[in-house]
Symmetry: D2
Subunit: 441 residues, 4 copies
């Protein structure tokens, strides 16, 4: 019998992979990874080889006994896996560009995770993840699926509702970024910060914020109304908040809430950026090209510091930290996407939610958060409704269902505009939407 863990990373050719490798190296003493399989599709072969060779140099450099395998054969990779991580992007960055630009053309925010762009990303991604689940069922039925492909909340719920894989966790770097942001703002170490996270992926709130177990929520809320001190992400411009609004809201919003509580202002800014210099996807594309140039350097054997500008800070770190806690039954608290089961009262029992969990060998166990404050219930349920309808559209390929999802999205101004945007986007992404082929005839 072999010992050590087999890790499979689907979308292994991603620019994030060096961070993941760095994480597995760091934790190797009590997370005995034997082999890491980096899997990608034909179109990503070149990137897979570049980043895969860097990965090989990294493990060699530090001398840990991890084998790196590069393959386009997903089934071979999945066989007997212990953990499967997914970080693929159907249609790559070019698709993301369309997710952002087509809505903007019609005066609507694209918001590639839970806006119109996110709908199309879900339509492209969910059928692929369900294929992976079917293969896992056969080839590695006991493996855990750690998904960080966006829209991570919808992908997790699709797996929970439409596959036989129950061992799934969705992971996002937004909550960990919020913790890091608070630590920096208050000038304390990250380990001393704990946040009661509750909500949905990219729609998560800190219901309370603690340092050393003592609530500092009021202080954090007071500080972040200042745009200079706003806690945000690479890709979201901080605007600050109206102080009386945020005090009355009385919870700590995530950066993506700018899209909902400031949709008018965000739209204006994105339209301006779009006219001036293109979408975020184009910025990212440029960053990625630069990163891959660095990765090609045969003398490079560490994760290059430039990767942190990429916008996905902490993603891979969060993934390895999660796998480590699961493997060691560490019972520490981490925010992940998992089945609700009443952890957040008022959201569907069977739905995926993003919530602080105790991480055990048996998976994440959500901490009970109770009822959401009245003021945030509506928006959270709106996005959950959108997510559920979007998932159904992805699975059925039904045009009306997709139009329904688009129309009920809070960023979309009418059924008429929804139809215009949807039609143009379905056309643009046709190659990645086989389930809609009939609708699009």
């Amino acid at each position: 019998m072999t010992t050590g863990l087999k890790i499979v990373t689907i979308g292994g050719g991603s620019s994030y992979t060096p961070e993941l490798i760095e994480g597995f190296i760091k934790y190797h003493s009590d997370l005995p990874v034997r082999e890491i399989w980096l899997v990608d599709v034909e179109a990503g072969k070149e990137k897979l080889e570049i980043v895969g060779n860097l990965a090989k140099r990294m493990v060699k450099e530090v001398g840990v006994p991890i084998e790196i395998h590069l393959t386009l054969d997903r089934k071979e990779a999945l066989k007997n896996a212990d953990f499967v991580t997914t970080q693929f992007r159907v249609g790559m960055l070019a698709a993301r560009g369309k997710d952002e630009s087509i809505p903007l053309k019609h005066g609507v925010l694209g918001q590639e995770t839970n806006g119109p762009g996110g709908l199309l990303k879900a339509l492209r991604t969910i059928p692929v993840i369900l294929d992976i689940c079917r293969e896992m069922e056969e080839l590695c039925p006991n493996a855990w699926l750690i998904n960080f492909t966006n829209p991570a909340g919808m992908v997790t719920e699709a797996v929970l509702r439409y596959s036989n894989i129950k061992k799934v966790v969705g992971l996002c770097n937004v909550p960990i970024g919020m913790e890091m942001g608070v630590a920096k703002l208050l000038n304390v170490d990250h380990s001393r910060v704990r946040i009661d996270f509750a909500g949905l992926n990219h729609m998560v709130y800190g219901l309370d914020v603690y340092v050393d177990g003592v609530s500092v929520k009021d202080e954090v809320i007071s500080l972040i109304t200042d745009p200079e001190k706003s806690i945000t992400m690479q890709n979201i411009h901080a605007m600050g908040w109206e102080p009386e609004f945020l005090q009355a809201l009385n919870v700590f919003p995530c950066p993506y809430h700018n899209y909902y509580y400031k949709s008018g202002d965000m739209l204006e800014k994105e339209l301006k950026n779009f006219k001036e210099g293109g979408t975020r996807a184009e910025v990212v594309k440029k960053l990625e090209d630069e990163l891959f140039e660095l990765y090609k350097d045969p003398t490079l054997a560490i994760k290059p510091p430039q990767l942190e500008k990429r916008g996905g800070a902490y993603y891979s770190d969060a993934a390895v930290r999660l796998i480590h806690s699961m493997y060691t039954d560490k019972r520490d608290i981490q925010p992940v996407n998992t089945i609700n089961r009443g952890a957040i009262a008022g959201l569907p029992y069977e739905s995926a939610v993003e919530v602080s969990c105790v991480i055990t060998k048996d998976g994440p166990k959500p901490i009970t958060m109770g009822e959401l404050p009245v003021a945030i219930r509506g928006l959270v349920q709106s996005i959950k409704s959108f997510e559920q309808v979007a998932i159904e559209a992805a699975v059925t390929g039904d045009y009306g269902t997709a139009l329904l999802a688009m129309t009920i999205n809070p960023l979309v101004p009418s059924d008429r505009v929804a139809k215009v945007i949807l039609d143009e986007m379905l056309e643009a992404h046709q190659a990645y939407l086989p389930q809609f082929s009939y609708s699009m005839v």
Copy 2:
């Protein structure tokens, strides 16, 4: 001991009152009304006398033994009342004009019932209704309060949560209008139509639609996508619906849903109307003035047919029909606003909802509607969140809570714009918002 019922109508000087009187005359054989007290405030005295005198002529004309009393003394009126109906408007039509025009000035729909305008209407109205409740508790503790002052849903919930009056029903003419619309569309008698209503006031859906007990929902949905056949109200321009959207939505929306599923288009149209000819409030003001001219005619002793253009069609009819069914324990089905108690799963147990009820002497008993379809849950919960926060703001007079309500309203684009609109509206309505006097210093 006196026999017969004492009815009190607060806001008795309303132009709707003749319809109410007509109703009580029509049902007099088994709804033995002994006296009707029309109550108004000093500012409405002239209108009260005009309409009150018409009411007296009406009962005299047909010879029913109903006494009409006109008074500015609300307490005297309430003493030993059996039913109290409320149709007052704090600040009268001038206030409604501001509710509509101030948001429009800032590019936002006013929507005087559950939009920014509705928030201010709630802030003005709720303290008055709670005063009335305190008086009822003392003077007529066994009376039923039948409220049709808008925002009827919020007013009902405010009574349920913040007063000791539990015998309250909120009434709206939207559902009855939808039934009438279906009857006309399908060319059948109104009595043959039954709709499973569920939702909130001005945010109600027909979950199913029946003629003679057989579902005709698909047919209705198919017909109303045509703007010519749309079922709407005097004050809402019909635009039709994207057919695939409505089929996927798979429920029968109310006219006010145009504000949410077509907010962009509605805004455009209202801005155009506003520039051209003012707000709906101004149109209504003109209609009212004409009506009161008619009412003054000492030879008039019936409800004049022109009243139906007023926009509040069926309001008083619905009120008398309700009181009649309650008094006679008729057990027929009518849609009203009442406490949820699980009738609509997923909405708060203690909240007011608009739902089909069996009308008994012991009050309305909601028919169980189960879970709302996924696609509509989010919007309904959003409006309910807005309502709950708005009610809290009305009761506490807290500025931040009012700003929170304004910001989370789906029609408002950002916390920044919310603050601009709110500040201007609080200023404009200052005379009717004593609870905010401290905030406004």
Copy 3:
């Protein structure tokens, strides 16, 4: 195209059938029954012919154009049926005798509907009803299934959870008996009494009791503490209630609650009766034999008055009244067993409950009852847990699940005694429990 309704009655050879026929005759003017098919099994052939011939004489006597068909071919009968009523008894009265006597032998109440006897009755009956559902799906997919085979609550829930038939109603004579009892107690006409029924079959409470829409609950509760005025059934000995207990309970219990709130006293009484004269099943058997002797009389062409002593008073009356209201979309209120969907908060959404419903052509629509009073929630949920486990045992034929159901029944004192009783009962009913054949090897 044929006009008029086709009714199929499974278990048509029952002694109750004349009441059913009488009902269809009574309502014939607006419930146009064309044909009634009485279906039975080979073992019941003789009774089917006796009662069927009486049915034929009854319709002939009054001259209504209803055809009576007698058959052992269930599939032929079901073809194109409009309503299917089920009143069969697997194993006939002999089986009921065992359901009662075997537990008593071990010092435990049999309680043939939701006690140990009820468990075995469920195990025998549920597979048969699911067979009927499969046939209905094919032969009359639009028909309504009106079940009054006991245990009616479990049978209804089994159909809802384990068949594709959604048009099912479970019917019981207990609630109508409670209404009649109140009418008699207060000396008012039955039509003036309305009860808010909520609970489970044979575990239903009147949450409130009205005469002409005014609550008389306190009076009823006060009266029925007197055993002389207790409202009960032929088969349940009235014992009255401790007055302070019933006042604190503050709801109107059903006769079967004697088994739970007075289990000790009931057991004592049944043990005494058992020693003296056998079980209730034996009494019923004797009554039935006498009835069939009467039915044979070729000059008899009406329902004989002796039938009312049989204990199932109002059963068939309730059934025809229900079918009549459904067919005519009458929208009156009747208590039936149907899917909960939140009507009774705290009970499972998908479970069958017994609750006051508005009866429409589209089926029964439960009136929202809200949370059960705290004091009764536990017992109701206990019985529901028992029912759910019992149904699962009936469907799976799993011995452990059956033992679990038996042990958690509130009437059973221990897992040890449960096993003794279960083993003896499985053995005794072996012929009717094919799904347990493997367990019983």
Copy 4:
């Protein structure tokens, strides 16, 4: 400003106190207790002095700087406390004897925590705990109340519902005993065992059982069917379980479940013991007397090993472990009684439940357990109904409510017997039930 913690122990004269002192000594390095106030009532003065002097010797012996204060003045003790622990017993062991013996006299199990005896214990204890809460509100509003006075679940819920103290935790040694039992059974260290606890106090189940994060539930269930391997308590005789029953139940029951799943057998055994040698209370009384003899020994300066036979093993250990984790924000998992808030779906949101929690400085945060398995929902809800009615009786002193609680308890066979037992018990405990004085006139 003083540093270090002030601990107050109400019922400080208990024989358990040395274990508590031992715990505070053990954890002193990172739980800086400055002073411990042992409080008792006049009747317990002698015991307080004996055990208090032992406590003083214990801290002196090891040289930790903890001051021990003995007092009968509760208010003086509570002033500025950080943690208040309650382990008092109203009426002392003599009262427990009556709780057990009076029901037995009438053929009913006393079960002093959630049976008839538990009802009377609740009636005596809850008014006292609410007095303490009122004093805490004034004298130490930021303190945590750690209650281990039984019935701990009812006491916790009474505090949550009827006091202004929200910082309350109920503690019991049953769950820790179950963990210890599993550890011993499987021969692993306690730290490797984790159980998903869910239910109520003395009605708690292990939904799953893990060693090193891997489920061993099936193995545990299989082992404990053997009475020799049953996990039980000093005061509950192990009887083993019917294997097929326990496998179908599929959760790990607590020792007190013997009273419910084996009530017949337990009753038989207790009646036998009662006739032979008296109640458990008498056995405990004898043990206590022996312990106090030991405690008097001025050379004794450690917790004597004989204390472990007392039956309350791990109680004080659990208490100190909990306080330690709270103080240090340890975030480890411990089972306690706390407000549900959806942690266990289907139980009331505001009720106390016993559930695995993450222990933080901000209190216990329940891990979400989801729906209880169908088979156990009924019994748990039955006991919760009983608890809620019992608490209401304790607070109101209403005789009918007390009779209702007694009658709905699953161990009580009828309203009639309930009344007999209740009347006798109210009489016997009259001195400690001032709120019932009116009823008992």
